[in-house]
């Protein structure tokens, strides 16, 4: 489903974030991307979302070169992906409920369906009683759960989770991981970037390890070693 082909990303001031990386992700796969802080995990996900353009190399999504997607079709492409951003990126002027409903509203789903899905997701991430609060009225962990809810509510084909448990207590961490596993079981491709060792070890899924922008290990049922 996704193919990274000799990807290099050089930021201004010659910062090499990703260095000649190639790997494939199959449909319905669960891939963990691990690596130290600054290894290039977030950059990799940004390239996939076409937020950043690769300096060299190509990324294919369902066989199509994503750099060739024109600006008209870009929104549609991005709606196929549910991204949980490391810094949440909730819409500050919208309530939790509106944040979660937003993507479905963009997609033109019916009001009834949106209400049903949103309420259900709110329950799953245990934010029912915060639904009418604004993001700046939530704790860090609550914001993170709202971000997760927004990413998965419209049932995208692919979920990009960038450190989705960074701000969560062990109880909610387990919950979220269980949720991601369940979504994966239902047929969604999941890419999880994290440096949370225990999670990786317990998942027993494919692990791609990055170091200074290069892949140093890529193992099925991998373990967290950095």
């Amino acid at each position: 489903m996704i193919k990274f082909q000799n990807i290099t990303k050089v930021y201004p001031q010659n910062i090499i974030a990703i260095n000649n990386v190639s790997f494939d992700i199959k449909e319905k796969e669960f891939v963990c991307i691990v690596g130290r802080s600054g290894a290039g995990k977030t950059t990799l996900l940004k390239l996939l979302l076409a937020i950043e353009q690769p300096t060299r190399g190509k990324i294919f999504f369902e066989g199509k070169d994503i750099s060739k997607i024109n600006s008209r079709n870009l929104p549609k492409f991005r709606r196929k992906i549910g991204a949980i951003f490391q810094d949440y990126k909730l819409l500050p002027s919208k309530t939790v409920y509106e944040n979660i409903a937003y993507v479905m509203e963009l997609m033109g789903r019916s009001d009834r369906e949106i209400a049903r899905e949103t309420l259900q997701i709110l329950e799953i991430v245990e934010l029912e009683n915060r639904s009418h609060n604004f993001p700046n009225q939530l704790s860090g962990g609550e914001q993170q759960r709202a971000a997760i809810a927004r990413a998965i509510a419209h049932r995208p084909q692919l979920i990009l989770a960038d450190e989705p448990t960074g701000n969560l207590d062990p109880y909610h961490t387990q919950d979220i991981i269980r949720l991601l596993k369940k979504i994966h079981k239902l047929g969604t491709t999941v890419i999880l970037a994290t440096h949370h060792g225990e999670i990786i070890d317990s998942l027993k899924e494919r692990v791609v390890t990055l170091e200074q922008g290069e892949i140093i290990r890529d193992e099925e049922k991998g373990r967290f070693i950095i």
Binding site: P75, R78, R79, A83, F85, L90, L91, S93, Y102, G108
Partner: protein, 302 residues
């Protein structure tokens, strides 16, 4: 498509209702502009009223020489009456002219005394001619200036009154011209203020717009709500202005009517309320939309 539009209106309404501060500032400026435009429209009414009133009063007075007889004057009068543009002619004899003068100035003993001392009637007999239309006076006058009337006619008195009328027409024209220029000027200010207010609120939502793009919002969905916000601001400004004008005219109308009898501005306002509302809403909405679309352009290039 319909649901998208509905959602964009909903988002626009939320944008509007959640930050009343900057929106009120834009509304305030717009109310001033719309008021001006409305005043220009309403001003037509008293201006027209005054011009008509003066036109009614305009006439040509032909004063006849001391030695001309009434028969001669009547002959001329009959000739004049045959001109199709002439509405009426009225003969004022020397005695009548004196009577009218004493009537007007009976409170003024000095003037009366000097008139008495004079011992004779210094006034001239005259014909007062009214035309159907002000523009025909020129023709009537050239008729009177003909050689055959020269021995009888002392003077033709028209120019004084004409200049009053011309002055009024000129003032009316000037008011309209400057009013329009001033309105355009104010509209430009309103667009600037609206633009900077919206830009300010956009600056705060710059990140938000970025995020909207990341989760897959199209330009239509990002721009739409801001434009709707402009529309809502415009409509509110128009309605507020209409209320202000309605209220002010309701309170002032008795005064205006006592000042200029027969001028019912409130009646004119209520009678033309739809046209006035339309003018106000078009002004408000177009400025609001213009300001917000200029402001958003910059931020769409994320």
């Amino acid at each position: 498509m319909f649901t998208s539009l509905k959602r964009i209106f909903h988002f626009g309404w939320i944008n509007f209702s959640r930050n009343p501060g900057p929106n009120l500032a834009v509304i305030f400026v717009l109310v001033i502009v719309i008021s001006l435009v409305t005043s220009l429209y309403l001003f037509q009414r008293p201006a027209k009223f005054l011009i008509e009133a003066i036109q009614k009063k305009v006439d040509v007075s032909v004063y006849f020489k001391e030695n001309s007889s009434e028969e001669e004057i009547f002959k001329i009068s009959q000739q004049i009456s045959k001109i199709p543009e002439v509405k009426s002619t009225e003969y004022i004899s020397k005695a009548e002219a004196l009577e009218k003068f004493t009537e007007r100035h009976k409170e003024d003993p000095v003037l009366m005394e000097s008139l008495e001392e004079l011992g004779i009637n210094p006034f001239l007999a005259s014909l007062s001619i009214k035309a159907l239309d002000t523009s025909s006076y020129e023709g009537i006058i050239s008729f009177l200036e003909k050689e055959e009337f020269k021995p009888l006619v002392e003077k033709i008195d028209y120019y004084q009154k004409k200049s009053v009328l011309q002055k009024l027409l000129f003032i009316n024209y000037q008011v309209n011209k400057f009013g329009i220029i001033f309105s355009i000027f104010l509209a430009a200010i309103a667009i600037l203020v609206g633009f900077s207010q919206i830009q300010l609120s956009l600056y705060n939502s710059k990140q938000e717009i970025g995020t909207m793009r990341l989760v897959g919002a199209s330009n239509f969905f990002i721009r739409g709500p801001f434009i709707v916000q402009g529309i809502i601001i415009g409509i509110f400004a128009a309605l507020i202005t209409a209320l202000i004008f309605g209220g002010a005219l309701f309170l002032l109308n008795p005064k205006i009517e006592s000042f200029v009898p027969g001028l019912n501005l409130l009646g004119f306002f209520t009678g033309h309320i739809f046209v006035i509302l339309l003018i106000q809403i078009i002004t408000g909405v177009s400025i609001g939309v213009l300001a917000s679309s200029i402001a958003i352009r910059k931020y769409l290039k994320v």
